[in-house]
């Protein structure tokens, strides 16, 4: 049996699945039930300064995108940080940590971008016995209008500065939570590294408007006929999050800083993908909000089964395993030539590949009598569109051509070995091959 225990920047948990800072972690009641359900840890819902707490809207907070069967594909929210008094949260955190010593309890914090504010709250959090802190530099709505959340995360200098304060005024591990609402996430991550952060976590939610009511003309979620942008999360954001995680994982200036992967993790497979692309552990919000705490069962059993099947015995062995395979476009092997191939036994004759290739690609599929669809190798550029639109799994595959054979499209012999754009004759700045 694979060992799922996790040690993330010194914070131990029985498995790598933490609940992300959000409603599921807003109070002891939820967190205790989550721990009973088997979650490895939580990042407590973001705490604010002492004093009167923030207020939330009293109408709908969430918008959503659904598939035809109401499967929730994406969600957005306009919720702020915790709207419960600081003392209540701190008291509960302390109690929970005492009752659940083997689980990770990390506290998310967002206070104004002033040294005094951070200096004030850090000892209060440390006093609870929490395992670490997460700096919420990501919340893209409401709080950002007040100069916090993503307003900080979008300025690398601020990220570095606040991270440094936190390391200075507390002994706890510091995780910097990054916003995806920037042009290049590596700048924020590098700033966190410079500031001495122990880890980064990402992504927080993405600026979004999920829909507009075409009768009332109000964006959703609609508060008395008006809406504002919210933060997007759930399955739909996973590809964006994966890319950002991978970008940081392979960035030299980020120096291998540990990454807590977040964003659309819904199944064990999503989790495994985050791990291999650079994450050291995982945080989940929307999947729990959609299906309840019990989803962690599937995530744990799936990850563990897959690790067993592959012979991986620990999470560390899995983490970053695919990072060496992320590269730049210019380094992709141009000698790799493939052709689409349609398995006639599996084909159900829907013709979607034909419509797609004929109308929008390379006219490389022939529709023969009896609705027999066949790839014309002399036209196929191996773009993969037919594979993507085919409703039958594995019916169309891209088959690599053997070196030495001739590509009927280009008339060129498929070369063995590797050659990329940097040495390609069409590249004006090509360098001689080594």
């Amino acid at each position: 049996m694979a060992d799922l225990t996790s040690n993330f920047v010194g914070i131990k948990s029985p498995n790598p699945f933490w609940l992300a800072s959000a409603p599921p972690t807003d109070k002891a009641y939820n967190v205790v039930r989550a721990f009973k359900a088997g979650w490895g840890g939580v990042v407590w819902k973001t705490l604010g300064e002492e004093g009167p707490p923030v207020v939330n809207v009293n109408g709908p907070r969430y918008g959503a995108i659904w598939g035809a069967d109401r499967r929730l594909l994406g969600m957005n929210n306009i919720e702020l940080i915790t709207d419960r008094p600081l003392e209540v949260n701190l008291r509960e955190i302390k109690q929970v940590k005492r009752d659940w010593p083997d689980r990770a309890v990390v506290v998310s914090i967002m206070v104004p971008c002033e040294e005094a504010a951070w200096k004030a709250i850090l000892p209060l959090v440390e006093e609870t016995g929490a395992d670490g802190i997460e700096l919420n530099f990501g919340c893209p709505h409401g709080m950002s209008e007040r100069g916090m959340g993503s307003a900080v995360g979008q300025v690398p200098e601020y990220v570095e500065m606040v991270a440094r304060w936190c390391k200075q005024y507390s002994r706890m591990p510091v995780i910097v939570k990054l916003t995806p609402n920037i042009t290049d996430v590596r700048h924020s991550a590098r700033a966190a590294v410079k500031g001495g952060a122990d880890a980064v976590s990402l992504i927080n939610t993405i600026n979004s408007i999920t829909s507009v009511d075409l009768d009332t003309m109000s964006p959703e979620p609609s508060i008395d006929g008006k809406g504002s942008h919210g933060g997007y999360c759930g399955p739909a954001v996973k590809p964006i999050a994966l890319h950002m995680v991978a970008d940081i994982a392979r960035d030299e200036e980020c120096k291998g800083i540990p990454i807590s992967g977040i964003g659309g993790i819904t199944t064990w497979r999503d989790a495994a993908e985050f791990l291999v692309l650079g994450a050291g552990n995982l945080q989940v919000c929307t999947a729990a909000m959609t299906y309840g705490f019990k989803v962690v069962e599937e995530m744990k059993s799936g990850l563990s089964q897959w690790m067993d099947e592959k012979g991986y015995t620990s999470v560390d062995q899995v983490s970053r395993r695919a990072v060496p395979n992320i590269t730049d476009w210019r380094f992709l092997n141009l000698n790799y030539v493939a052709k689409a191939k349609i398995d006639q036994d599996l084909c159900i004759k829907c013709g979607r590949c034909y419509a797609a290739c004929e109308d929008t690609s390379h006219q490389a599929i022939a529709m023969n009598p009896g609705r027999v669809f066949e790839v014309i190798d002399a036209e196929c550029v191996a773009c993969n569109l037919c594979v993507n639109v085919c409703p039958v799994e594995n019916c169309i595959t891209l088959e690599p051509m053997a070196p030495g054979t001739t590509d009927p499209r280009t008339g060129l012999v498929v070369e063995p070995g590797y050659a990329n754009w940097t040495t390609h004759p069409n590249n004006p700045s090509a360098v001689a091959a080594e």
């Binding site: 598939g67 035809a68 069967d69 109401r70 159900i348 004759k349 829907c350 013709g351 979607r352 034909y354 419509a355 529709m367 609705r371 409703p391 039958v392």
Partner: protein, 450 residues
């Protein structure tokens, strides 16, 4: 004591009073909005979709399903009605398992086609309660006589009216609809849908229906040809094939279509007499409908006897299974040889058939089924409206012969469509297609480019 399924004879009210409503409720209840969204999501939007080819009226099925899935079932309904003005009825009665749904690639992929019929109903239902969506073109001043207000005649009349022609429909029966009103099984079209649909269709205006006018008896084809610019014949099949065996004239033996028509015209099935032991002879849709509805009325045993093997039945596998789930016993490969009884039918004697060259003959193996009611469903044929050679209609004893666009003669202005023609399967949807196409042909002819 109240009567039960066991009570001998042909009597009404065999079942508890509330059983009837349940028995004759919608066979395929409508989809709700969410069910429709889920069902629509399964459509692959195939290229040159096989389902379209399989639909006799060529409805653009992937398009209308996509319109449903994007929340515009009204547009979906127009996609359907543009090709098939009786799309509402067809959604209920088409044997989709042998038409569009059989062709669905998901049938090939997983044996579970997209539910095209029910989606079509979902779409069409949205517009049937609203004002008629089509308007008439500028009047052409031309008039067309349509004989028969069945699916073929109605489809033809609607298309002609839309194109601006004046249409008069001559209908022998007191109500319009043809077999939609008098033939189709009750549980496929409950709640008076057939009449509602006719009213909706006629509200395009420009169509006058003259009921109780039987062409050939009350008015001649020659007169119609004289008074109109063109004539369309959609008279269906008015005659039933005879059962020429000993005892077949005993009381208790009747045509299944008459039994069904009585049922369809009744307001309360509890008042309809039904036998305890019913024997249905035949293997088509009519036989299945008669058998199933006999069970639903409370018959204790219903046996359907067909002369050939099951695969050769005109009733689809779905229909046969429907019969069997309703407790109908199906015997194949047997022919009736004699009906017996004192003053009325008491039993039918059958022989297992043997092949004799091309023909089937009663063989030596015999069996007898008790019966207090026998329903004949061994095929129908056309009742000619004219035998006058001057009309120059090509026909034989069973049907009219038509060319492209439903022309009955190469030169004249008489067209035909639906069951009364020799082409196409005898289905509602085929009748609609042929009526529509004949209207286009008539239009082209009358407007000079035909």
């Amino acid at each position: 004591m109240a009567d039960t399924q066991m009570t001998p004879g042909v009597i009404a009210g065999r079942l508890p009073p509330d059983a009837y409503a349940e028995n004759f409720a919608d066979l395929h209840p409508p989809l709700d909005r969410h069910e429709a969204a889920v069902a629509a999501d399964r459509c692959y939007f195939c290229h040159d979709a096989p389902c379209i080819t399989a639909c006799p009226t060529d409805i653009d099925i992937p398009l209308f399903i996509r319109q449903i899935s994007t929340g515009t079932p009204e547009s979906a309904a127009m996609t359907i009605f543009d090709m098939n003005i009786l799309g509402g009825m067809c959604a209920r009665v088409c044997p989709t398992e042998t038409l569009c749904e059989e062709a669905c690639v998901r049938e090939a992929a997983e044996g579970k086609p997209v539910e095209i019929g029910r989606l079509q109903r979902y779409a069409t239902d949205t517009l049937m309660d609203r004002p008629h969506p089509y308007t008439r073109a500028k009047p052409t001043g031309r008039t067309v006589a349509v004989i028969g207000a069945g699916p073929a005649g109605l489809a033809c009349a609607h298309r002609l009216a839309m194109l601006g022609h004046g249409v008069t429909v001559f209908e022998a029966r007191p109500k319009s609809g043809g077999l939609n009103e008098y033939g189709i099984a009750s549980y496929k079209t409950p709640d008076g849908f057939a009449q509602k649909e006719v009213e909706w269709l006629l509200s395009i205006s420009g169509i006058t229906i003259r009921h109780n006018k039987q062409v050939g008896r009350d008015i001649s084809l020659a007169t119609l040809r004289k008074d109109h610019d063109a004539v369309f014949i959609g008279i269906g099949l008015g005659a039933t094939n005879a059962l020429d065996i000993e005892g077949s004239d005993l009381p208790g033996v009747e045509d299944a279509v008459d039994f069904i028509a009585r049922l369809r015209q009744s307001d309360d099935p509890a008042t309809l007499p039904i036998g305890r032991d019913v024997v249905v002879i035949g293997g088509g849709m009519t036989a299945v409908d008669a058998a199933v509805q006999s069970r639903l009325l409370g018959a204790q045993t219903v046996t359907m006897v067909y002369r050939r093997e099951a695969e050769r039945m005109n009733a689809s596998l779905f229909e046969r299974e429907l019969a069997q789930t309703n407790g109908v016993r199906i015997i194949t490969g047997a022919v009736p040889v004699r009906v017996t009884g004192q003053n009325r039918v008491e039993a039918v004697e059958f022989a297992y058939a043997v092949q004799d060259g091309g023909a089937l003959r009663p063989g030596p193996d015999r069996f007898t089924l008790p019966a207090d009611q026998v329903l004949r469903a061994i095929g129908q044929s056309m009742v000619p409206i004219t035998n006058d050679p001057a009309d120059a209609i090509e026909q034989d004893g069973a049907s009219l012969h038509t060319g492209p666009g439903g022309r009955t003669t190469p030169h004249g202005y008489v067209f035909a469509g639906g069951d009364c023609t020799a082409t196409g399967e005898n289905l509602t949807v085929t009748a609609v297609a042929q009526g529509r196409d004949a209207a286009m042909e008539i239009h082209a002819t009358l407007m000079g480019d035909g």
